[in-house]
Symmetry: C2
Subunit: 436 residues, 2 copies
């Protein structure tokens, strides 16, 4: 089947990331979508500043409307941001019968009601997963995954810049202005940081989340907004002393009298999982009446995390366009004829680090014997914890953490260690993973 | 439009939960799905043991095949568990052209390849979100939300019983057998706990997750399985001393030589978010090449959390059956004609707790004045932190944490407090949320 033809508006950070992800994962994406996804046209503000981005096969222009009008283009991906001309471009694309994928939270928060109504009339799709919390599929989770619930409330760390600043203030006892300057140097904050530190960006996202959670129209102008500029390092320290962390949250909650929509710094108990979401990362905690609390965590911004959401939306669009509705999403994610026969490794081929607990007689030379056996099998040691021997039995626990080793080697080492006369019980071993 | 007619197999814990959620949230679910969902027939092993479950409008039988054969039934929800007769019932339903929603992880892990092939041939849907991690929409997240990624690895706490036991062993320094007995008393562990503590249940779920992450067939018999019965409280304590937590993880990872599929206790660094997922809760950490790490957290079992996933699948099925593919999922989750005009509260109507920081002159009566003002406005105090006064200026910070109060009242209180001569700077106030 012919690939779906995409027109891309914007070749900046996220646009570039989208091009790279679609290229690098072409095979996997096609196996999932059942059909290729090909960018045939793209618009950038300045075609001279594309760097080393590979735009092979794309008709390039500096006039975004040209891409929108291109009769071959089936889906428009809008990644230029801002309200205008994004709104005009998206509405024009819809009028042309083209589907739209956008990462533009401001556009959806301000003009979503109008855009969705037009899309409904024209029978086209408008997908916007990338508009909230970057690569975290939070729109899909709420809109589909929690569709059985009455959502009671949600609270999200949905601005990475603000979270980075608050995290640094706490970890290093630094002042707001000091950290903001660093965030700007690192590229986590814009030269004009207003949208991030005053809560406007978070309010855009909260507008969208609240609407899909509660089934109310988008109403950005009703969101209460308070930024983090007023938080002092003393506040952060006092909160900590009392067992709390200060996070900049977007909160939407039903109450008997109406819906609360508010963005502001918030003290939350430090034991909550979401209190430990640090740095530029995002997380959204959603409370449904049936499921209870669920939390979604990941990168909320950045080229490829945002591209991840854009491409997921494209796959959704392609699946809807291509496949009969009853098998829109393949059971096992990939098309039935595209499953791979990759082999599954036997356990002795698997590499992990290990925790080893040895029960030994406290006598000279034990550790020398053990470490010699490990060295002979190329197993290196990350840490040793030697406990005091028992006064009566002169037996002691020795704990070794190894670096990554092939399990087959470790098995051999354990065999030899257990054969030592000074090792008086089977060796306990537990695998260890860094998970990063 | 007429409701979709459901036949429910199993009226036990999850079956009962599904009936209750569909009844309680009927209105919200219909607004989302665009069509009602009605259970018209149900089978239970013993119709005398349904307790107070409201089965109004359902034809009840003790013969599950009767429900499957019922010509009026459009979708079968299989919640009886186990391999047989679940397999025969599901295959029979498919042969009858009925769609299937199931929470049965053993069934999918063992017979999914056969079931999906049959469903493909017959053009019916088989949905199984509830089979992995209960109410967490992890199947949807991987299969759709991360569709742009090459998934590198995933690691999950996917058995709540094992996680509860390990959490108790660490928190209370207790032995495995001791905690297991308690878990059985609490109903977190079965009388025969083998599936949970030996890793079989986790292996079922890992089989499914690996397949949808990597695009390989389901192959339960290739999963390496190790339970938590061999973990001693000493191991838990030593791991802790070294900065690690022991978690029972299902891990699936690509390596250049093949795919690793393994379930075993694992030491992980305590700073990782997933290391802090405690008790019966589940979490799955997924690493995609574009998005990086994302984490999904929530209740992995229980009547209503599992029902949450079952109903989400039903809404998916109904949306696919009912709506044109291009508007399968409404933009704002609810059908465009079903948005509500619930009012958004003004901020002075919102109730939260507060952190207040006062800069005061250190003189008698200040606290009496402040607490009197708060009491007069019905604001009660949860905690007070009084810092040492500065030796030169005799000024000090006083921090007050309030209980929940209407923001309008708090505004009044702050006005009065700032009017006190002993309060020498504007009051800092930050909202506080328990998030539970």
């Amino acid at each position: 089947m012919k690939p779906v033809k995409i027109g891309l508006l914007g070749l900046g950070t996220v646009g570039g990331g989208t091009v790279r992800v679609l290229t690098r994962n072409r095979d996997e994406i096609t196996r999932r979508a059942g059909r290729g996804i090909e960018i045939i046209a793209a618009a950038a503000r300045n075609l001279d500043s594309l760097g080393d981005l590979d735009t092979t096969g794309m008709r390039l222009t500096e006039d975004a409307f040209e891409v929108v009008e291109d009769p071959e283009v089936e889906v428009i991906v809008e990644l230029i941001g801002g309200l205008s001309p994004a709104r005009e471009l998206v509405l024009r694309a819809i009028d042309q019968g083209k589907h739209v994928v956008t990462a533009n939270k401001a556009l959806i928060a301000h003009h979503g009601n109008e855009i969705f109504q037009r899309a409904q009339e024209k029978g086209v799709m408008v997908a916007f997963e990338a508009a909230v919390a970057g690569g975290i599929p939070i729109i899909k989770a709420i809109r589909e995954g929690l569709a059985g619930n009455r959502i009671e409330w949600l609270a999200g760390i949905i601005n990475g810049t603000a979270n980075f600043i608050l995290t640094e203030m706490r970890d290093k006892g630094r002042d707001f202005n000091d950290v903001l300057a660093e965030a700007q140097r690192l590229g986590y904050a814009e030269a004009d940081p207003t949208f991030d530190v005053e809560g406007v960006d978070a309010a855009h996202k909260l507008t969208i989340l609240a609407s899909i959670a509660f089934g109310v129209p988008l109403q950005f102008d009703r969101v209460y907004m308070e930024g983090i500029t007023g938080i002092s390092r003393e506040d952060v320290a006092y909160a900590s002393e009392l067992g709390y962390r200060i996070k900049h949250l977007g909160i939407a909650r039903r109450s008997p009298r109406g819906i609360e929509l508010r963005v502001h710094p918030t003290l939350i108990p430090e034991r909550r999982l979401i209190a430990n979401v640090d740095g530029v990362l995002n997380a959204v905690l959603v409370w449904g009446d049936a499921v209870g609390p669920t939390l979604y965590y990941g990168a909320g911004a950045g080229a490829e995390p945002t591209a991840s959401a854009v491409v997921a939306d494209l796959v959704d669009v392609v699946r809807a366009l291509t496949i009969d509705p009853e098998n829109r999403v393949p059971h096992l994610a990939f098309q039935p004829d595209a499953l791979a026969d990759t082999r599954i490794l036997a356990m002795d081929e698997v590499e992990t680090a290990f925790y080893l607990r040895l029960r030994v007689v406290d006598q000279p030379g034990v550790m020398a014997d053990v470490t010699r056996i490990l060295a002979d099998l190329d197993i290196s040691i990350e840490a040793i914890l030697q406990k005091e021997p028992d006064e009566d039995t002169h037996e002691a626990d020795v704990i070794l953490l190894t670096h990554r080793v092939r399990e087959g080697n470790l098995d051999q080492a354990i065999g030899r260690i257990e054969a030592l006369s000074s090792v008086i019980a089977p060796v306990q071993r537990i695998r260890m993973e860094a998970l990063r």
